[in-house]
Amino acid sequence: MQAEKFPRKTAATMSYINKPKFKHPQMQTNDIGLTRRDYEGTLTTLCGGCGHDSISAAIIQAASEMSLEPHRVAKISGIGCSSKIPSYFLSKAHGFNSVHGRMPSVATGANIANKDLYYVGVSGDGDSASIGLGQFCHIVRRRINMLYIVANNGTYGLTKGQLSATADIGSRTKSGEESQFDNIDMATLAIELGASFVARSFSGDKKQLIPLLQAGLSHKGFAFIDVISPCVTFNNTDFSTHGYKNTWENYMALSEVDFVPMREEITTSYAAGKEKEITLHDGSAIHLHKTSNDYDPTDKENALHHINAYKKQGKIATGLLYINQSTSDLHELQETVDKPLNSLDNQELCPGNEVLKDINNSFR
């Protein structure tokens, strides 16, 4: 393996856009000495104003503030506008843009191979609620320790504006097509299927989204965030329930979340009732400010009741909707060894010829 085998890249081989590498000398660094730039990806090729770019920006800020080591993250997506997002954050992390609707299986395999990385799956409503609904359901059931984000715009952007399965009944696209079918609510579905962290947010509400992303990354188990992310080109009409207008007007936070990284001592004390503090497995904590005393995000039925009650009023329930800290992830359920499976060597895996002789004897 010699260095000269890998020559410098020439301009001729490039057909994507590199972000300028310039760093302002006084740019702030985080606890591990990295700046925001170190968490960025390539320049976006999405439409100007696309909600998805706000999601990328929120992930960059969330990871930077948490001082995540970028290379300890694996980013996995399916196909569609949403699935381009992993290109636009954490370029020091390995990424895998797989096939349409199948990100969950690829993420499952990756997680099984090495449990020591952070896994961020990014998908869309077409990718996860239609072609990949089966895989979505089963990754939830399998309790993969990861953060799964659906950039939900109610439409198929890359194929120019067809309705998706999350589009609410009566919602209309730019071309005037009206959704005649009941929508699939990914958040309630995730709760039903056993996800242990379920949130909903809005790409336009960074203040809410960033702590949710941080909490989701810190949560041990399957963390799901349904992020309403308007498609400015095909589904941002006044008649679309996934456009900016409707989302701002009907956006209801069931809870507000502050994320407290593990290195910070928790000093604030909260009044009982509407406030709740939840310590996560890695030592960080979330402070939850609930909208009402009778809402309990640790109670499955109660959480579903509140989300559905809002839905009946045409409101979109957001915030941390449900959390369960007492479930095990797949590795714990399967009792895999502490070392990542991809690091086990010949000696640890191969039983050797003496054992094989005994096995041969059992077939005589």
Binding site: F6, T108, L349, N353
Partner: protein, 618 residues
């Protein structure tokens, strides 16, 4: 009735260590373990044997057969015609009795009178009141049912001269740990044995004698060997969806992992098995794990292969190593789920849309299933692409005599071109798809290796040498050309064809996999007629140059395969540019193993055709 049968003056077949015994049973009646015991007893007597399960896609009620060929010369392919039938299924008894060759034997349950139309005057009947014996001797209804099977095995031991001690030894082995089952089973064997001795002249003229032919050998099925080979090959991730006849590959992997892959200190598992929601997820999980540096596999059959096509294209184009075991069954569509075929060659060789090509391995016996399973993980890592091991139901689910499995303790896993953090530090700029060595195989990195070097974005969309998205046609074409080169390089890591010693004549036989079971018999039989042939057993795709050379060295090669459309012949035409006139197809696609008789007849018929036209091929 019994008198009528006894009075018939039939001369029974007189043969030693050469017969086909067939058991006709009702699925779910508990016959499998009794029939297996019979086969194992013959194996332990040292006589070559090949058992074949011909079973329905059903749990209970439909007919099932267990056909055993016993042959001192080691001719272990299927043979047409049955010498002794154990007719236990009323649904099929007419057909079963009709399948017996003249001079053969019919063992049946005489607790019920045999209908007149089932009587033949050219076979010998061996009536045993199985039901009545079991009603008298056993209390529990399940025992009364199950032990009918053991009683007929006991009777067969007297008829065929099977060493009774071998049988009792087998019972003890089989029920080790469940000792209270041993005595009733031995009692049932004795009942059958004694009844036969008391009522018939035992042994028959069709009989067995101890032999030395199985020295050192084992009796194992291919799927068990495949699962075990995956353990030895270092697989840590298995993702699968249940599908006959591939299910027992993962069953075997699980069984041996439980024994051999538990961490001694913690009791934790050095493996993970995921039963996926479908075959798409199964291969997706394997690809995710392969991408992340674990050795991963999935096992499936035809319908699963169809579902996995898109992912196979992704793994080919994004260059992710995975191993896929295809235990082929009869297609198209659901086809005959419990019958065997070599019908997936074309759809695996070029699986997925666009220009693709995949490495295929063709094991022919359980030892090779073990070896190829283990080495498939090395090959996949080395070439960073899927490796498809093409077994079939016949090989996967039936026990075969084969050489014992062997592992070279000095061997080390070949993880291929993977850069670690230190190697990355030495590099100025890393390119995931850069052909640094000129062999078409780039260097890969595992996620999490280095803080700021070596990361890349894996994608199934067009990319350049640095894994960046591109729609530049010439860059795309360069990558595709490199993949062509990579597949040429891959051939160096694949098993060469197995050639017979050349007899320097003009005729050859080319075949893959389970067809081998018929070949020796064909060659010996044709040699007696003055026809000699050279053979080539192809063991991998893409083909070695020696495959093309074999065709060059022979005037005509019979390409034998078990499918309708001569798929191997098509591959040879496409890949090696072999002329149509050089190849003569011999095909079999009825779902059971090809027979020597069929191959021999096809060869002779083809010569007669050619003779008539005035041209002599040899």
């Amino acid at each position: 009735m019994s008198e009528l049968i006894q009075s018939s003056k039939v001369t029974g077949l007189t043969k030693v260590n050469d017969c086909v015994v067939k058991f006709a049973n009702v699925n779910g009646s508990g016959s499998a373990s009794a029939n297996g015991m019979f086969a194992k007893a013959v194996f332990r007597m040292g006589i070559p044997i090949s058992p074949h399960n011909i079973f329905p896609s059903n749990i209970q009620g439909l007919p099932t057969w267990f056909e055993v060929r016993i042959n001192e010369n080691g001719y272990l392919g299927r043979r047409e015609g049955v010498d002794l039938i154990v007719a236990m299924n009323e649904q099929t008894i007419a057909k079963d009795i009709a399948s017996v060759v003249p001079g053969g034997y019919v063992l049946y349950d005489s607790s019920k009178v045999l209908a007149n139309e089932l009587l033949r005057d050219d076979v010998t009947y061996l009536p045993i009141p199985l039901k009545d014996i079991c009603l008298e001797e056993f209390e529990k209804p399940t025992q009364r049912q199950l032990f009918k099977n053991i009683v007929y095995v006991g009777a067969l031991s007297a008829f065929l001269n099977i060493d009774f001690k071998v049988l009792t030894g087998l019972v003890s082995d089989q029920f080790r740990g469940k000792e209270k089952l041993i005595l009733p089973n031995i009692h049932a064997l004795e009942l059958g044995h004694q009844y036969a001795i008391d009522n018939f002249a035992c042994p028959l003229t069709l009989r067995l004698e101890k032999s030395e032919k199985n020295k050192g050998k084992i009796l194992m099925d291919g799927n068990t060997a495949t699962g075990l080979g995956s353990v030895y090959g270092g697989a840590t991730v298995a993702a699968w969806y249940p599908l006959t006849p591939s299910t027992s590959v993962v069953d075997s992997f699980a069984t041996y992992c439980k024994r051999l892959r538990i961490d001694a200190g913690t009791g934790k598992k050095k493996y993970s098995i995921v039963q996926a929601e479908d075959e798409l997820a199964a291969i997706g999980i394997a690809i995710g794990a392969g991408w992340n540096g674990a050795r991963a596999f999935t096992a499936t059959s035809g319908p699963g292969i169809s579902l996995m096509q898109e992912f196979l294209g992704l793994a080919y184009f994004s260059e992710v190593p995975i191993v896929l075991f295809n235990i082929q069954r009869v297609g198209p569509s659901t086809g005959m789920p419990t019958r065997s075929q070599q019908g997936d060659l074309l759809c695996c060789a070029y699986a997925s849309h666009g220009d693709t090509k995949h490495v295929l391995l063709f094991p022919a016996n359980p030892s090779e299933c073990f070896d190829y399973a283990a080495s498939a993980f090395d090959i996949a890592d080395r070439i960073q692409s899927p490796v498809i091991v093409m077994s079939d139901l016949e090989l996967g689910m039936n026990e075969q005599i084969c050489d014992p499995l062997n592992w070279d303790d000095k061997s080390r896993y070949d993880r291929g071109k993977v850069l670690d953090a230190q190697q990355l530090d030495e590099i100025e700029k890393y390119g995931r798809y850069l052909d640094s060595d000129g062999d078409g195989i780039p260097y890969r990195t595992y996620p999490g290796t280095h803080p700021h070097k070596g990361s890349y974005f894996t994608r199934g969309s067009s990319h350049d040498s640095y894994a960046a998205y591109t729609e530049d046609g010439s860059v795309y074409a360069e990558v595709m050309d490199r993949l062509t080169l990579k597949m040429k390089t891959a051939v160096n890591y694949l098993p060469e064809p197995e050639f017979s010693e050349t007899t320097s004549n003009n005729l050859g036989l080319a075949f893959i996999g389970t067809t081998i079971s018929a070949i020796n018999e064909v060659l010996d039989s044709l040699a007696k007629k003055g026809i000699t042939l050279d053979t080539m057993r192809i063991r991998a795709f893409p083909f070695h140059d020696s495959v093309t050379e074999f065709f060059g060295a022979h005037q005509l090669v019979y390409v034998i395969e078990q499918n309708r459309d001569a798929q191997l012949k098509s591959l040879l035409k496409i890949e090696c540019n072999i002329h149509e006139e050089k190849m003569h197809s011999i095909l079999s696609y009825d779902g059971v193993l090809i027979t020597a008789q069929h191959i021999e007849k096809s060869i002779i018929d083809s010569m007669i055709d050619v003779d008539a036209s005035g041209e002599v091929p040899a």
